[in-house]
Structures are given as structure tokens and as C-alpha cells.
């Protein structure tokens, strides 16, 4: 967190209209995140950008920490991934309630039929658990595999595994962030779908 904050402060120290290399990189990251959010939830880019962006940046940094000798990825700890999954779980409801109100948000659990409410609730829990366990399992197993190969084969043998680690770290971060985005967007757009379908019926 400190590293990311200091990096942000250094990069953002002198922002120019004609950007330097670091500013270009920062704007590129920002633009990429913004475009990804716009592709999923085009009407809530400004609202979702800080949370989803932070999630992605944090996960990339955290997953890549495992490459540094003597440092473990925070995401190979189930507590850390569970914390992030809970935050995603809470943010889905937070953004949903903020968007259309408490009652309107809760009403979408009863649609299209109240019978589906238990399944909705189970789905909410299981997807959160899956989110946490998926990231934890992938990162932990990756580090474990690298450690085992290092112990068995020697110094340079786990190098391809480290390359795989980089890819896996980026992919897992992307998957986690994208799933979080899709969940949140689902919570937001379910309200809109309902209202638009009602509007069509009225017409």
C-alpha cells in the first residue's frame, strides 16, 4: 500500500498536458481500466472506477510480490482473498442500493419469482467464496509448485514456472477484478433492466 501510494505520489507530482513516460504509463493504466469498466457498465464508469481500479492495481501488485525472493504474495493468504471477496460482496450491495434505493434493490432478489430467492442468496454466498478461494488457490498453488521445483531441481529450473507466475498473477488479478465488476454491474443493471422492461410493457 505504501509502495503504491508513494508511486502514485511520485508519478502524479508534476502532471503536464504533454505527458512524460511515467505519466503516459499512468494514464494508460487509467485508460485501460476505464475502457474495461465502460465495456461492462457504460453508465457507471466514474462511480466504479476507484474501486475496480484499486482492486486490479492491488491484485497485480500483490500477486507479483511472490516473484521477489523472501516475499510472499498477500493473496496466497486465504484471509486476504476472503477480505477482498467480502469487500466485493459488500460493494455489490452498496452500489446497488446507492443506485436505486434499498427497497428497489432488494426487490430484484424476488424477480422473476420469489421462489428463486434462496437460490439467489446461495449464489451470492457461493460466488463470494469462489472468488476468494479461486484467487487463493491459484496463487498459493503456484508458489507451492515453484517452491517444490526449487527444492527438487535446483536454482534455475523453476524459471519457466516464474514466467508462468507472472502470467498467472496478471490473469488472476484480471479475473478477480472482472468478476467483481460483473457482479457489481449485475447489481446495478438489474434495476435498469427491470425499469426498462416495465417501461416497454407500459408502452
Amino acid at each position: 500500500m505504501v509502495f503504491l501510494t508513494v508511486l502514485a505520489l511520485v508519478v502524479m507530482r508534476r502532471l503536464e498536458l504533454i505527458p512524460g513516460p511515467m505519466q503516459t504509463l499512468a494514464e494508460g493504466i487509467h485508460g485501460a481500466i476505464e475502457e474495461a469498466i465502460r465495456a461492462v457498465a457504460p453508465n457507471h464508469v466514474t462511480q466504479l472506477l476507484p474501486f475496480i481500479g484499486t482492486l486490479w492495481i492491488f491484485l497485480v501488485a500483490a500477486n507479483l510480490c511472490g516473484l521477489i525472493p523472501g516475499v510472499h504474495s498477500p493473496t496466497r493468504d486465504l484471509s486476504a482473498t476472503t477480505a477482498l471477496a467480502i469487500l466485493v460482496f459488500l460493494s455489490v450491495h452498496w452500489f446497488g442500493i446507492r443506485s436505486k434505493g434499498f427497497k428497489a434493490y432488494l426487490r430484484h432478489y424476488l424477480s422473476p419469482s420469489p421462489i428463486l430467492l434462496p437460490f439467489q442468496l446461495v449464489s451470492e454466498i457461493t460466488r463470494t467464496v469462489a472468488l476468494a478461494v479461486r484467487l487463493f488457490g491459484n496463487i498459493m498453488s503456484l508458489e507451492m509448485a515453484a517452491l517444490m521445483i526449487l527444492l527438487v531441481a535446483g536454482f534455475l529450473a523453476p524459471l519457466p514456472i516464474l514466467m508462468l507466475h507472472i502470467i498467472e498473477a496478471l490473469v488472476q488479478a484480471y479475473i478477480f477484478g472482472m468478476l467483481a465488476l460483473i457482479y457489481i454491474a449485475g447489481g446495478l443493471q438489474s434495476q435498469q433492466l427491470r425499469s426498462s422492461s416495465k417501461g416497454e410493457l407500459n408502452e
Binding site: T5, M12, E16, L17, A26, H30, L78, A80, I86
Partner: protein
């Protein structure tokens, strides 16, 4: 508080044959699978703090600078569009002005050609007139010149004639000529009309009573008496007569009474002829 729940993957005790301590750090693995509430809470807090920090120091500044850049680009685009519109307008104005200028040039050229044509015609007319005037003047001068030449020839002929006559009369002068001139004089006096005689009498009524009669040769007594009688008859009064000889008269006589003078001699006739020639010369020069 550290709370350990549920998930505990126990790899260690089942792997005694392999050698537990040398293969994997089972304790470490156990630790990662444990769910620690404190870690969870701190992780959540940590993430929220990071979210706030990044929002404060990363997203907002980047969004701000992107927005500024977009505004700047839009402003430049708007300015460029305005400039393009202005340039197009200026271009159309320029094209219009160019066409108008071509038209004006054509009109000015036509006007200039018309003016040149008119001026040339006027100049040609003026030149023709001036040439005609010059031709008339030259013709007049030529005619005058020919007249002058003719007159000069006449004068010269007259001069030569008078010189010839004077020379001839000088050679031919003598008493016979004088007698003939006296007879002519007497005849002229006798043939004077009455008005002339009255005028002569009036003019000589207040003049001196002495009459001087000059002749080239000595007059005979008979002629003197004839002259005296004739003069008395004309003037109706008695005068004193004084007869003198004057060889300059060449032949003939001259009668002088006060300011009045009568002559019938060669010298006076030649002088009169010369005077006439002089008048003609002055007249021709004056022209």
C-alpha cells in the same frame, strides 16, 4: 485475537514416508489456509485506505489532467474549426474578389481601349487640322512670297526703268525739251477746271506777292510774258516775278509762290518717280 476456522488441509501427517520436514513447510501451508479475522479486518481496512489514497492521489489527478487535455484539444479543435470556417470564408471572398477584379480589369481595359481610340481619333483629327492649317499657311506664304517676288521684280523693273528714263532724259535734255515742257505746262494751266482755279486763288490769296520762276535754261522774253499773263489770268492779281536759272531741273521750269509750288521739269518728275518707287518699296516691306 486469532481465530482459526474450518479449512485445514493437513498434508503433513499423511506423508510420513516421504519425510515431512524435508519436503514442504507444512506449518506455513497451514498458516496460509487459516482464516484469521484480524488479518481479514486489517486487509479490508488496508484495501479501503489504499482505495482512498489512490482515489485521492491517482484517479482524480489523472482524470483532471485527462479532462484538461480533452478540454484543450476540444478548444483547439473548435478554434481550428473556426479558423477553417474563417479560412473558407476568406477563400470564397478571395475567389469572389478575384472574379470581380478580373471583371473590373476587363472593364477597365475596354474603357482604356475606348479612351485610347477616342484620343487617337481626336489626335489624328487635330493633326489633320493642324496639317491642313499648316498647308494653308504655307500656301498663303507661298502665294505671298510669289507676290512679293513679283512686286520686287516690278519694283526692280520700275527702278531700272526710272534709272533708264532718268539717264535717257538727262542725255536728251535741252532747250527744245524745255520749250516742249513749257508748252505742256502752259497747256495744263489753261486746261485747269474752275474749281481747281478757285481753290488755287484761295490758297494764294494770303501768300507773299513774289513768284519765283526757276528754269534749266534762260527763258526767252516772249515766254516770260506768256507765263506772266497766264498767271495773272488764273490768279486774278498782280505779282512780282523773279526768274532764275537752275541747272538741276535738267529741263523745264518750276514756279513757287510762298508755300505753293508748280513744276513741269525733268528733275521734279524723276524725284516724284523715285518717291513713288520708295512708297511702293515701303508698302511691300510693310506687308
Amino acid at each position: 485475537m486469532r481465530c482459526i476456522v474450518g479449512l485445514k488441509i493437513m498434508l503433513g501427517p499423511e506423508m510420513n514416508g516421504v519425510g515431512r520436514q524435508s519436503l514442504l513447510p507444512t506449518r506455513c501451508l497451514e498458516k496460509t489456509v487459516e482464516l484469521s479475522w484480524s488479518t481479514l479486518a486489517l486487509e479490508m481496512f488496508n484495501f479501503l485506505v489504499l482505495l482512498w489514497l489512490l482515489k485521492r492521489f491517482f484517479y482524480k489527478p489523472v482524470q483532471s489532467v485527462i479532462k484538461r487535455r480533452q478540454d484543450s484539444i476540444e478548444e483547439r479543435l473548435a478554434r481550428a474549426e473556426q479558423m477553417e470556417v474563417k479560412a473558407n470564408k476568406m477563400l470564397s471572398q478571395y475567389e469572389e474578389r478575384k472574379e470581380q477584379w478580373h471583371l473590373e480589369c476587363e472593364q477597365a481595359r475596354e474603357a482604356l481601349q475606348t479612351e485610347i481610340k477616342l484620343k487617337r481619333e481626336k489626335e489624328e483629327r487635330s493633326l489633320r487640322d493642324s496639317l491642313e492649317q499648316e498647308r494653308q499657311r504655307n500656301l498663303t506664304l507661298e502665294i505671298q512670297h510669289s507676290h512679293d517676288l513679283e512686286r520686287q521684280l516690278e519694283l526692280r523693273a520700275l527702278e531700272q526703268g526710272s534709272q533708264f528714263a532718268a539717264q535717257l532724259l538727262k542725255l536728251a535734255s535741252g532747250p527744245e525739251l524745255e520749250n516742249r515742257l513749257i508748252e505742256l505746262f502752259i497747256h495744263a494751266l489753261n486746261s485747269l477746271d474752275e474749281d481747281r482755279i478757285v481753290e488755287l486763288r484761295n490758297q494764294l490769296s494770303h501768300s507773299d506777292a513774289l513768284m519765283q520762276i526757276s528754269s534749266a535754261f534762260t527763258l526767252t522774253e516772249e515766254k516770260r510774258i506768256t507765263i506772266k499773263k497766264l498767271m495773272k489770268k488764273i490768279l486774278q492779281r498782280d505779282l512780282q516775278y523773279h526768274f532764275v536759272e537752275d541747272s538741276e531741273l535738267v529741263a523745264g521750269l518750276r514756279i513757287r509762290v510762298g508755300p505753293w509750288e508748280l513744276g513741269a521739269n525733268i528733275n521734279d518728275e524723276l524725284l516724284g518717280f523715285s518717291s513713288l518707287m520708295g512708297d511702293l518699296m515701303i508698302e511691300s516691306t510693310g506687308r
